[in-house]
């Protein structure tokens, strides 16, 4: 599955390790929430970065204490219609200050990229090659945003007020 990061197709450095499968001696791994929570310390002690795949119906409370030691959190879109991971992403970024990689996995299509980046995702396991190729173009689609989210983009309302402010200051 192509991975888009920093706006570009990238090689995935993380190895998905299935539950029960043996961990490689070093290197970055991505494991399930169960596996991680069973013994977080052991995983984090091993050489190599650790990422966790967090299901979209699981409360983030169990994850929050480990955030500063995780290199990646992969949130799941079982279908592109299921938007629970958008809320999880915003909470991780905006409420809990998580600043590692936030990865979208599952049914990830180009038509969700804008929503996803706005919610805080910065890595995308994209389902179709063509969609991954179109990432940069898709991200240019919108220049106006109505609501504030943690991505820092200025809202239309704020732009209007700034404009008004500078107009009245100029008089």
């Amino acid at each position: 599955m192509p991975l888009v990061k920093q706006g570009r197709l990238t090689t995935d450095l993380f190895v998905h390790v299935a539950d029960g499968a043996e961990l490689p001696g070093d290197g970055a791994v991505l494991v399930s929430a169960e596996r991680f929570l069973a013994d977080p310390e052991a995983l984090l002690r091993r050489p190599g970065k650790v990422g966790v795949i967090w299901p979209n119906n699981r409360n983030l409370d169990d994850l929050v204490p480990h955030l500063d030691r995780l290199a990646s959190i992969a949130l799941v879109f079982p279908t592109f219609r299921d938007g629970r991971a958008y809320s999880q992403a915003r909470l991780l970024r905006e409420r809990y200050g998580y600043d590692g990689e936030l990865r979208a996995t599952g049914q990830v299509l180009r038509d969700q990229f804008v929503f996803m980046t706005r919610a805080g995702f910065d890595a995308f396991e994209v389902k179709k090659d063509a969609d991954a190729d179109a990432f940069a173009a898709t991200m240019k689609r919108y220049s106006v945003f109505y609501q504030p989210t943690g991505d820092g983009r200025v809202t239309a309302l704020n732009r209007r007020m700034q404009l008004r402010h500078s107009e009245s200051a100029g008089q």
């Binding site: 299921d82 938007g83 915003r90 409420r95 038509d111 919108y142 809202t155 309302l157």
Partner: protein, 551 residues
């Protein structure tokens, strides 16, 4: 009127270009129908019985004459010359080609109209009182808040893939014309003891398979906090709303399963934790939006102009005036409701010619403004009383002066089996037959205010649960049957109707309704007692008897 600025226009255009690309990818086969479905729904495009259906938003029911003219253009250029106004302050076109949809959207975008989120599992078009800004006694114009919420929820990155559709309605009047209690979130603007303006927030209302009246989750949320409070509700719903079963996915089910107290606690918890995330609306932000609403330069006019006194001798005019003309907050002006329910016509339809002509009348008599109400009627919100006689003549020529507003023939009906792929039964022909049965205006006038609502299936697009008389199409052994409920209402005292007995076949529906109405005329206390009030006083039993005694 709200004026879109460069930023709003840019966003709409960007949306059109995105959709053009999505349609292209569908037509080339790059997108599967399953993938495309949700994308087209987010742009108001349904696949219906005969063709694609296109649903366009009319935010809070306010239209300019220019925008109405553009609907006429879309009807003519891309459809079969008419449009259908719906109970959601939308207009639908039934016969548009998929390949032409992006062009139709682009034409609409030029006048600040879009179809974003008129369907799909996201925040739908925010609806409001169709008399907003002109109704006497309202707290303030609720459209300012509707617009703030419209903007906040448009292409919201967290709430565009909710468990199910989500509808917000707002009223600022004592008398609720926005049916807020049958919405996912209902907002009632009022002032608290300190004179501060804010909202009573209701949640979990809705019709369909499992109808619920919304419950109050918070009696008062200050205006400045309304966006963050709505965001908290939606976040709880997005995370905990059921996704395993589409019939149980609406917020009303979550509220029902948790109980309102527990749900309210969850929301409060979320709200508290949210802290300051830039959603608080300070005075400047509210004023920024308020400043882009413009209001007519009303003249100082007499309460009772000579033109009106003279016209009082014209019986037809008087009949229409009594029925269709309503008080305005400015002296000398009126709100004029235009019935889209002519005898024998499909409720809510307007032809391109009617739309064009009405746009001209709005320019001439109503400062270029038109309103769309959830009863599937239109209104001219600022008509000088002296112009009423001339306006009546012009409307009459257009077939828009049927004097039946709020009467028995002012029927709300969904498209039913004539257009809808989900229907079990026809709705439009039932409505047409009923308008013929009660065509005599004197009889209708004698009966007084009586709302009939018809849906062609359990989804309740025609609001049948809250009709004074509700008619619901069901299917039995391949035949159309109809369940009849009475005593429902959608106003500030909203209530679901009660079933009066077994469903009746298509051919008998009009007779049954006539029986119910006759029973009411015999049973009412006095002529002023409304049908719903008689039902409330006596219950359904006497009506049940009257209907089923001979069947």
């Amino acid at each position: 009127m709200y004026a879109y600025d460069e930023l709003d226009r840019t966003l709409i255009n960007e949306r059109v270009s995105e959709f053009r690309d999505q349609v292209q990818r569908r037509l080339s086969g790059e997108l599967t129908e399953d993938e495309f479905k949700i994308l087209r729904l987010q742009n108001g495009v349904y696949l219906q019985l005969h063709a694609y259906m296109f649903r366009v938003a009319i935010p809070y029911g306010t239209l300019s004459s220019k925008q109405l003219r553009r609907f006429a253009h879309v009807a003519r250029r891309y459809d079969r010359g008419y449009g259908h106004f719906t109970t959601r302050q939308n207009i639908q076109f039934n016969w548009i080609k998929l390949s032409e949809l992006p062009d139709a959207l682009a034409d609409l975008a030029e006048v600040g109209i879009h179809a974003m989120q008129t369907s799909g599992n996201n925040m739908r078009n925010v609806t409001s009182d169709q008399w907003a800004g002109v109704a006497p006694g309202e707290i303030e114009d609720p459209r300012i808040w509707s617009e703030l919420i419209r903007q906040h929820t448009t292409l919201h990155p967290e709430f565009s893939f909710l468990p199910r559709k989500f509808k917000i309605a707002i009223t600022a009047s004592e008398h609720d014309r926005a049916a807020i209690k049958i919405h996912d979130i209902g907002l009632r603007l009022h002032k608290n003891a300190d004179g501060e303006t804010g909202f009573e927030v209701l949640v979990g209302g809705g019709l369909g398979r499992t109808p619920f009246i919304a419950k109050t989750i918070k009696p008062f949320v200050p205006g400045r906090d309304i966006l963050s409070y709505i965001e908290a509700i939606l976040r709880v719903y997005n995370q905990y709303g059921r996704r395993d079963n589409i019939y149980k996915a609406r917020i009303k089910i979550l509220v029902h399963e948790l109980g309102i107290e527990k749900f309210a606690k969850e929301v409060d918890e979320e709200w508290k934790q949210m802290g300051d995330v830039g959603l608080t609306l300070d005075h400047a932000a509210i004023e920024e939006v308020r400043s882009r609403f413009s209001y007519p330069a009303y003249e100082k006019l007499p309460h009772m102009p000579d033109e009106l006194k003279q016209a009082a001798h014209d019986k037809l005019f008087e009949r229409w005036r009594k029925n269709s003309v309503f008080p305005h907050k400015v002296q000398g002006y009126s709100i004029v409701v235009l019935s889209l329910k002519p005898v024998g016509g499909p409720p809510g339809d307007a032809s391109a010619e009617q739309m064009d002509a009405l746009a001209d009348l709005a320019d001439k008599y109503s400062f270029g403004e038109i309103r769309v109400g959830h009863e599937q009627n239109l209104a001219l919100p600022h008509v000088a009383k002296r112009d009423l006689p001339a306006l009546f003549k012009a409307l009459d020529r257009l077939g828009l002066a049927t004097p039946n507003v709020n009467l028995v023939t002012d029927i709300i009906a969904c498209p039913g089996l004539d257009y809808c792929s989900l229907a079990n039964a026809r709705s439009i022909p039932v409505a047409q037959e009923l308008t013929r049965r009660f065509a005599n205006h004197d009889t209708a006038d004698l009966i007084g205010r009586l709302h009939i609502n018809i849906s062609g299936c359990i989804n309740a697009c025609g609001h049948h649960h809250v009709g004074h008389i509700g008619i619901l199409g069901v299917e039995k052994n391949g035949e159309e049957f109809y369940q009849i409920t009475i005593g429902g209402r959608a106003d500030e005292n909203a209530q679901m109707g009660t079933l009066i007995g077994p469903a009746v076949p298509y051919a008998e529906v009009a007779d049954v309704i006539e029986d119910i109405v006759e029973a009411y005329l015999a049973l009412r206390d006095r002529p002023e007692e409304l049908f719903v009030d008689t039902v409330k006083r006596l219950g359904v039993e006497p009506f049940r008897e009257r209907v089923y005694a001979t069947r």
